[in-house]
């Protein structure tokens, strides 16, 4: 599980592309195509209640010609900007048209759809394929913009943030789910974070220790790496189940299992990191009279640190995802909503469970990459 390329570092990816050859046109145009195609699909679905299987499916045109016109013009402007805008106007034109398309879509989803729900007690608006497609288009468009003018990304982001603040959203199914279970949500989110926070440090320490041992003792290397890898192959639900009779219900077995799963990325990366310290460096360290301990602290550890952090990043992402399964043994976490949603057959509830997990993972990812970047040995630029 090697690193996803950190956004700010993608230029350093080593393939040495000529910098000038950035040509996101194709990507931006893909975004436009997906955005326009999405208009064909139902944008939202009006459900009479949260479990009703069917509902009125509405495309953007169904929401009102104005919204359709706004969104279509946004995408067309984007296409025009990609084709025609050159020089100093290009970046603002791209950013503006993307912001336009994104804002119009969001507005359609909020202001446009709010009228639908009316005053039926349990009626709600579910986000449908067209809206997801539009989201994908905006996401892709954002990366196209990022490739060309990263700073201008702020424009669509700010526009959406402002809209999120101003526009109504209470009619959306996910939001309704949240509002009905706000307290529970807060508790489970906290519990989720707690599970990750409690299981990560032992996984880190233990993983580092095992990785170190594997790097040091040739004889143990394959055994230790193999064992850590083997743990990965036990399905998480099975591990939870098997631990049940041993440690009982609740957070304890969940944390134990999570620690065991979290080991692998840390072990592998620590091992790789220590192995990647050039032998010449170790030779030099020994040669200047460092003891084994000093060598470890002053040379190996700093040099292996980026790998270790990479491993911790991997473990963290894995644990954030894994903690969703903990609910099966009554350990809570955001999996609660996944389980309830599955149980009650309510997609909105599943979304309420999964969206924060993805958001958490993204946040963790960003933080860890920043850390890895800070820890990378300086002056390696050659």
């Amino acid at each position: 599980m090697s690193a996803a390329l950190p956004l700010p570092l993608s230029r350093k990816t080593g393939l040495n592309w000529p910098l000038a050859a950035a040509r996101p046109n194709a990507i931006a145009l893909t975004a436009v195509v997906i955005g326009l195609l999405s208009l064909q699909w139902p944008f939202v679905v009006l459900h009479p209640n949260r479990v009703a299987p069917d509902g009125d499916e509405l495309t953007v045109f169904g929401l009102g010609g104005m919204w359709a016109a706004l969104i279509v013009s946004g995408w067309l402007l984007q296409a025009l900007a990609v084709w025609l805008a050159r020089g100093r106007v290009r970046a603002p034109a791209l950013a503006l048209s993307l912001a336009w398309a994104a804002s119009a879509s969001y507005a359609a989803l909020t202001w446009g759809a709010v009228a639908l729900s009316g005053d039926q007690e349990w009626a709600r608006v579910a986000i449908a394929g067209g809206a997801w497609g539009t989201l994908a288009a905006v996401y892709i468009g954002a990366f196209a913009l990022y490739a060309e003018a990263p700073r201008w990304l702020a424009l669509p982001v700010l526009a959406l943030a402002a809209l999120a603040f101003a526009a109504p959203y209470q009619h959306l199914g996910v939001v309704m789910e949240y509002q009905m279970a706000a307290d529970v949500f807060r508790d489970e989110l906290l519990q989720h974070l707690l599970l990750v926070a409690v299981s990560l440090p032992p996984a880190m320490l233990l993983g580092a220790a095992i990785g170190l041992l594997a790097a040091r003792k040739r004889a143990l290397e394959s055994v230790l790496l193999g064992a850590a890898g083997l743990l990965q192959t036990i399905p998480s639900i099975a591990l939870f189940g098997l631990l049940l009779p041993i440690v009982g219900l609740g957070a304890k077995p969940a944390i134990l299992a999570m620690v065991l799963y979290g080991l692998w990325p840390v072990v592998v990366n620590t091992h790789t990191g220590l192995g990647a310290v050039p032998p010449a460096m170790l030779d030099a360290a020994r040669g200047v009279g460092m003891s084994a301990w000093q060598m470890f602290w002053r040379v190996e550890l700093p040099l292996a640190a980026p790998f270790f952090v990479e491993g911790v990043r991997g473990a963290m992402l894995m644990l954030i995802g894994l903690a969703t399964v903990a609910v099966l043994i009554n350990a809570g976490g955001l999996g609660y909503f996944l389980l309830r949603g599955t149980e009650q057959a309510v997609p909105d509830l599943v979304l309420l469970g999964s969206l924060p997990v993805v958001a958490l993972a993204f946040a963790a990812d960003a933080v860890m990459r920043l850390l890895a970047w800070r820890l990378a040995p300086k002056g390696r630029v050659a």
């Binding site: 479990v51 299987p53 789910e177 009982g248 009554n330 149980e343 009650q344 309510v346």
Partner: protein
Amino acid sequence: ASGDAIVIGSKIDTEGALLCPLVGLTLKAHGIKVIEKCGTGATQVVRKALLAGEIDVYPEYTGNAPYLIKNVRFTPGTFRDAASGHAAGAAADLAQNGIVWLKPAPANVTYGFAMPAKLAAAQGITSLTQLAAYINAGKPFKVVVSQEFVDRADGLKAFEHAYGFKLAPSQLIILPGGNTAQTESAAARGTSGANAAMAYSTDGQLAAMGLVGLNDTGAAADIYQPLLTIRSEALKKYPAIPAIIEPVFATLDTATLSRLNARIVVGGEPGTKVAEKYLREKGFLK
């Protein structure tokens, strides 16, 4: 159980999410310290927790006794009758495990089948007898069921026996660990061609999903009355519990449970809120 608090558990399903806070809130209202571990796990898990003393009480169903109480041979048919079933189960559980059964609620939570209302109306099916005829006529039928329903003696087999039909494997979509909301949602959506689902008689979401329940006209199934099971040690500590809980359970008939379940599943309200509202409504809580 820890300290002087009563630890409440429940099954990990909709009714568990309702009954658990219902018990908890009621006890709390009478000044009993309560720790809620709602949604403890699947039936066997909660039961084990109770036997191990990890929890003190949880809501069970009378008809489950043969599956929970090992090594006791109940006379066949015992659980077809509410009173005799409760008496037999309570006696056996107390004798064997020191678990006390409180008085059950006057509801019957039994298995049944549900079909899309449109289909049922078109085919004129309102009862399981008519369903059997429909099936035996070789008309398209595909039912989503849980593993447990297929495996248990009082599940699918009992229905097949009582109504005289036999489902081919291709007519079954079996979800291990599946619950009625899942099965019903699949039937309502027609996922994978399903047009029927295993259902409970107290499921509140059937109407909202556009399904109708086909109830057990031929009394094929045992009777499942909700009741609170409690460890006798805990009962000794708080002898007042039956007096507090039994009146509440007494108000829970099938229709009420169904309505309350609907609030949770259809309305999406948390079990605690539904329970609290109900208790206030009935005056158990001020």
